[in-house]
Symmetry: C2
């Protein structure tokens, strides 16, 4: 075979983390006599509305999406991550991930280093946390340090972070004590429909790629119902590859706490599925999947996490657009593309993440914009089409949908719109509102059986 | 910069061949006292219609399109090319290229090894040939050996070559004596309009890429007026690249003897230009150029020559479709793609041409088909779209044009059709007929001044 052929990369860190005990007898033994603690959503430090649920981090860690991370980080690891975006084992990782707990809860629990804590979810045993360290954090400091600031990161940070940034709020809303140590899921949650059929943890994703004969796979990150611009981004970015276009397109939707005005997660996954069910991209070439994660909107930093997740899932390529995983203008519009083509020294990347030791193997495909061109009579690419085009604004499209107007099929496929309407009927509104967010954190995406 | 970035390849063989003397005084001195010989078109061995003009080979060699070839090949080199598709200097090359002459002409000239021959074109001094060897060939044997046969090349040759194959006819129509030796152009021909503005010999092409800031450039081989399917092939294949889509798209049209029913060369180059003038692909990202060559239609072998020409011009990528440079069913439809992904051992390629010693550096992008999808409402890619589509048949489109019907703009851009009509008016017919072919070989694409 040709040396130009790109092979599926190893998982980040060299091997998949898999910390799921499936033998119930063993699991019951493991939690015998353990103190238990019911996981609760992280509430906004000012408004009390849910902004995160650590159960999603535990899921993503134990199923290997975040390999090589194995648990709640120790203090030294959090510091290294914030300073160099490296774990203590040298592998790159962008965000601190911790199991945070209030002083009250810590006192009530009375656990100390060496204890095994049984975490319950919806009242059922879910995972264990083997406590290796307990330490205090300053959530506000953590929030600032996680995302950077214009003085420290002048290459890409344009604006000081504040409470208008949902990722900053997540860290600011952390409880001040951290129980650090490895997680192990001892009672596998069942994903609820429609999420169950999109659940492809890394090992299963890699097996699915094998089954489909996909050597090269490009990932499409999404937190949106796809309009035709997204469809074109997927179809066109997939023409990269090696000696032929990428064999597969993996849509990986980030499922977690929504912002007001986002589409509901249910509509997002089924909307993407409608693209392949409708034949716009053959189902044989297109797979919709999910990862549980409360988006931090860290643009270049988030893109690193996205690269890690999708490399772990077995992708060879990852498409990145303008304003990747961004909100507001905290970062340069092209911060992610800068990171992947030149690096961002102040974040610990004097070279792109694919070029540093202990870096990533997944390859970026940096893309510009698509919008409808009335002359070409198609969704046209900004770097190709020389005509005057209307910018395809997601907000405009959302406005149209909110008014009950079906967008023209050239902007949104009718099959996708049908999905929006289906969930609109169920939730009473096409977009997420506070009620959806609060209810979602009560019900979650999973159910658990008795152990 | 990232190690994933693809740099412009060196010319094939390590350096550009440039054998053009521009100082007229020097040139006059060089041909002082030389015997002269007027280049004539190669005529079909049965019908007498022109099938080739060696002046095009001399142009392509001396301007470096065929680097590292420097002249008419010696007998040992022809044999090595036919056996291993390697030159005597080891670099890969697919075809024998010789200056052939009849016994009569050779006798009249009376030249021997060591002589310098002045080749004239349209009665003007054009180039010199420093004779290093004179030998006899069997044109029929040469024709058979050049293209392969089902016994020797079972991987891709499906049918014995015969006089229905225009490339076979070219070699079969060669004169039986070869004057081998290096060519040097001593009187630069002037390309006639419209060809002059598309003349980018390798050095100039590379300079133009620099000027445009194109690091990655993908080549589109053409001998056709572009329909929208071709436009999509170009636009979509260009999404390959490295960390971002290819910066430039080079259209390189093969200009030479036409087959009946082909579009005239003038319509081909201006038709492609209309794509960028019309804004369907920005002129900043799209460059139309030509190479002088009488197509041999050797499918995988021709693709090697195409790779060599475009690598010499500075391209990083080359798109290859089904039936690349093919006519009839002599070769497997995917013979070119097989060559570039696995190699064809019987032609001397146990691995792809990018993986063998003295091989090519340009990277293949193997593409499938585009055709209009009424559901997607666009030119859809066979590996993406799951709907029922009509195959976009070039013959059907040509039939429509021949009937005077303007094809729908979704099939052929109106700006391109206008070009077809412009040359139709000039030549009296939208496609090449015998009159066009005979006339073209009289007038050629160039004029020469006195020396």
């Amino acid at each position: 075979m040709s040396g130009l052929l790109i092979e599926r990369p190893l998982p980040h860190g060299g091997r998949l983390v898999e910390r799921v005990v499936t033998d119930k007898k063993v699991a019951r033994k493991m939690i015998q006599g353990c103190p238990t603690y019911e996981i609760k959503p992280t509430l906004h430090y000012e408004t009390g509305v849910p902004v995160r649920n650590v159960y999603r981090e535990i899921m993503s860690i134990c199923y290997g999406f975040f390999s090589p991370v194995e648990g709640s980080m120790k203090q030294a690891e959090v510091e290294r991550v914030l300073k160099e975006r490296r774990l203590l084992n040298e592998w790159i990782f962008p965000y601190p991930l911790v199991f945070d707990i209030s002083k009250d809860d810590l006192n009530k629990l009375g656990v100390t280093v060496g204890d095994r804590l049984c975490l319950t979810l919806k009242g059922k045993p879910f995972a264990i946390l083997d406590i290796e360290e307990i330490y205090e954090i300053d959530p506000e400091e953590l929030a600032y340090k996680t995302f950077g600031d214009p003085e420290t990161n002048p290459e890409v940070v344009q604006q000081k972070f504040d409470k208008k940034h949902p990722g900053w709020v997540i860290y600011r809303s952390h409880q001040p004590y951290v129980l650090a140590g490895k997680y192990t899921i001892i009672n596998e949650p069942k994903l609820k429909p429609p999420f169950d059929r999109f659940w492809f943890p890394p090992r299963k994703a890699r097996e699915e790629f094998d089954k489909r004969g996909w050597r090269t796979v490009i990932n499409h990150q999404t937190r949106n119902v796809p309009h035709v611009g997204h469809e074109f981004l997927m179809k066109c970015a997939a023409f990269t590859g090696d000696v032929e276009p990428c064999h597969g397109i993996l849509v990986n939707a980030v499922i977690g706490v929504k912002r007001r005005g986002d589409y509901p997660d249910e509509a997002i996954v089924e909307g993407h599925e409608a693209v392949n069910k409708g034949g716009y991209i053959k189902p044989e070439r297109h797979l919709v999947s999910i990862v549980l994660w409360d988006m931090r909107y860290g643009n270049p930093l988030e893109s690193l996490l996205h690269g890690i997740i999708r490399q772990n899932m077995g992708c060879t390529h990852h498409m990145f657009g303008r304003d990747h995983a961004a909100v507001g203008e905290y970062y340069d519009k092209f911060a992610t593309q800068i990171l992947w083509t030149k690096g961002i020294p102040s974040f610990g990347f004097p070279a792109p993440p694919t070029e540093v030791p202990y870096g990533l193997k997944i390859r970026p495909q940096n893309m510009r914009e698509f919008s409808y061109c009335p002359t070409c009579k198609e969704m046209a690419y900004s770097e190709t089409c020389g005509h005057k085009r209307e910018k395809l604004s997601g907000s405009f499209l959302r406005g149209m949908v909110a008014e009950g107007v079906q967008p023209p099929s050239i902007i949104m496929r009718p099959e996708v719109y049908k999905v929006v309407v289906k969930w609109w009927k169920k939730f009473g509104y096409p977009f997420c509102n506070e009620k959806y967010v609060i209810n979602k954190e009560k019900e979650l995406e999973v159910d658990l059986e008795d152990l």
